[in-house]
């Protein structure tokens, strides 16, 4: 708050020729208070509590013994599960998403197709959650369309659906990872200047030369940046997995289990410990994303 308050008046309009200045310079910072209070109460405090709770026993004494949870084979296995799922869905999502962006480049940027793809991508990438899980239950769930057809075709009634396992989640996650790639990578592709293509053509280069010498190198930072964002998105998503899997296997589900089950002595506040672990992973990812994003912006304008 002091940091906010000490800055007051910084951008105040220098001239006050208005007939009735309702506010004297220096009182405007009051307007910053409501949002600041809200952000502190519902973003600052919860974030700090989430990170700090791993350092305390349930009785409230400071401890670092909770972090022995990171030696727990289940927690380690689930970390590997989380990272594997995130990596697989990020790599596949980035490649397929980039392909969609490339195809969209040939379409009118103000056209209806573009608006539809943008809106649909936005819905699937950001607001699907549980509903996407249902969509996949209806498609490849145990009673799903494709599984039922496959059973009829092959007569194999023992055929079971893959989507209720962690590796199978990759397929479901792609359904929001590809749209996220479309949303985040499209601006980078659109920023490729036609003049560069013309320059390559003037110098006698083929389209393949253009991609190898110009397109890929320029897009690489943006592409890998978006891939990291997809990784982070998969790593932190909870709802879709929770609706499909009941027995854990990734870190977000471990937090759920830790919060809803009885605490075991020596494993107190395990949710806080995993939460801290997730934050560390996210900060590393987002820092890498920031670096790549700055590199990508170099060719921006």
């Amino acid at each position: 708050m002091t940091a906010l308050a000490s800055n007051h008046g910084a951008g105040a309009t220098p001239r006050r020729r208005g007939a009735r200045p309702p506010r004297r310079p220096g009182t405007g910072w009051i307007g910053l208070i409501p949002f600041s209070v809200y952000a502190i109460l519902f973003l600052g405090i919860p974030a700090v509590l989430a990170i700090a709770s791993g350092f305390f026993t349930s009785a409230g004494a400071f401890t670092i013994s909770n972090f022995s949870a990171f030696g727990d084979p289940v927690i380690l296995k689930d970390l590997v599960g989380s990272l594997g799922l995130s990596a697989a869905s990020a790599i596949l999502g980035a490649v397929i998403g980039a392909l969609v962006c490339y195809a969209m480049l040939g379409m009118n940027p103000d056209g209806w197709l573009r608006t539809i793809v943008d809106s649909a991508s936005s819905v699937l990438a950001q607001f699907g959650g549980v509903m996407l899980a249902f969509a996949f239950i209806a498609t490849v769930g145990n009673q799903g369309l494709i599984i039922v057809i496959a059973k009829q075709l092959f007569g194999d009634s023992a055929l079971s659906s893959p989507i209720y396992t962690v590796p199978g989640l990759t397929l479901v996650y792609l359904y929001f990872e590809i749209p996220l790639m479309v949303l985040t990578f499209m601006p980078a592709l659109e920023a490729l200047k036609p003049a560069w293509g013309e320059a390559v053509a003037t110098l006698g280069g083929s389209r393949w030369t253009y991609w190898r010498q110009v397109g890929f190198p320029i897009l690489a930072p943006a592409f890998f940046g978006c891939m990291i964002l997809l990784f982070a998105n998969a790593f932190s998503s909870f709802a879709t997995a929770a609706a499909l899997i009941s027995q854990g296997g990734i870190w977000p589900l471990d937090i759920q289990r830790a919060l809803t089950s009885e605490t075991v002595v020596g494993h107190e506040n395990e949710a806080g410990v995993i939460a801290l672990g997730m934050i560390v992973v996210m900060v590393v990812l987002m820092s890498a994303y920031g670096v790549l994003q700055r590199r990508a912006a170099r060719w921006g304008s």
Binding site: L4, G9, A10, G11, A12, G18, A19, R20, P22, G28, G31, L32, P34, F35, Y38, F42, L43, A50, M104, G106, P109, D110, L113, I116, D118, S119, A120, V123, L124, Q126, F127, V130, M131, A135, A138, G144, L145, Y175, M186, E190, A191, L192, P194, G197, V200, Y210, G215, C226, L229, F235, S236, P252, I255, L259, A275, M278, I279, S287, V291, A297
Partner: protein, 293 residues
């Protein structure tokens, strides 16, 4: 932690590149990044079909009868008073979610919007701080924040009770990055400082300036922020599930066990509603102002 520059909504897509004349005419361009028309169409049809498949499966599933064959019975059941108790939880959840939409949109309009305008007009140095705060919920996963929300809400429920509407404060935080972006993009595109100074120099007071100059110029950003916030609230599951409140999404998960057909019907409706909301934003966004650049 760095500020995230990800484009989060259709609105934020940068200015479109100059369309190639050749590509427009449908001939394959001989240079540059643009694909030929057939390549585009083939890629889009294949991937589009794969993306439509789960949606189509939902539609087919919703007409499937328990006895085999197809029926519209599941749609009629929703309005069947005899089955009302089965869907009671779902309707309570929908009601709660609609109330949460109102509260969360109010938080965006009453808390976020004024502070964004104030920072733009008088404290431009704080712009980076505000952006960092608003984008922070992307870096801190919701499932992590929830660990902190639980103690906060155990205090809050003593003050305000444990009704579902109190979740609005937490969901407002989750909606911050999505709501911030379109308003910020809009603010960057309109020179509010000059507009305000012009109005002030003509003798307008601050309130008329805000109400008649600033807000109308930010109409599109504000509308997009509200729609996206509604979509966030309707899709929110994590917070409600951990804090044990009944919302649309938690009710869907519950009813999925007893009546998967109705869960799928309402999922479809919600996805379509969100799609339409974002389609409206998208069309608003593509009608670009003729001014500047």
């Amino acid at each position: 932690m760095t500020a995230v520059d990800a484009s989060l909504t259709p609105l934020q897509a940068g200015p479109a590149a100059e369309p190639f004349v050749a590509a427009r005419a449908g001939r394959s361009p001989r240079y540059g990044a643009k694909p030929s028309m057939p390549t585009s169409v083939v890629i889009l049809i294949i991937i589009g079909a794969l993306f439509l498949l789960p949606i189509a499966a939902m539609v087919i599933f919703s007409f499937r009868s328990n006895q085999g064959g197809y029926t519209v019975g599941h749609y009629i059941d929703v309005f069947n008073p005899a089955l009302e108790y089965t869907y009671d939880g779902l309707f309570v959840g929908i009601q709660n979610s609609l109330a949460l939409c109102v509260i969360t949109v109010a938080i965006i309009l009453v808390l976020l919007l004024p502070v964004m305008i104030l920072v733009e007009l008088r404290y431009p140095k704080l712009r980076r701080v505000l952006e960092f705060v608003c984008l922070l919920p992307i870096t801190v996963p919701t499932v992590v924040l929830v660990v902190g929300f639980i103690p906060v809400y155990s205090v809050l429920s003593q003050l305000l009770g444990s009704d579902a509407w109190t979740l609005g404060f937490a969901i407002g935080v989750i909606a911050l990055p999505y709501a911030y972006r379109p308003i910020a993009v809009n603010l960057a595109g309109v020179d509010v400082v000059t507009l305000t100074e012009a109005a002030r120099s003509l003798g307008a007071g601050w309130l008329p300036v805000l109400w008649r100059i600033v807000i109308p110029n930010l109409r599109r950003g504000i509308l997009a922020a509200c729609f996206i916030t509604i979509a966030v609230v309707l899709g929110e599951y994590t917070i409600a599930s951990f804090l044990g409140r009944t919302t649309f999404q938690t009710a869907l998960v519950l009813i999925q066990h007893t009546d998967p057909y109705v869960a799928v019907i309402f999922s479809l409706l919600a996805l379509i509603l969100a799609f339409v909301l974002l389609l409206i934003i998208g069309r608003l966004g593509s009608i670009r102002p003729r001014s500047k650049d």
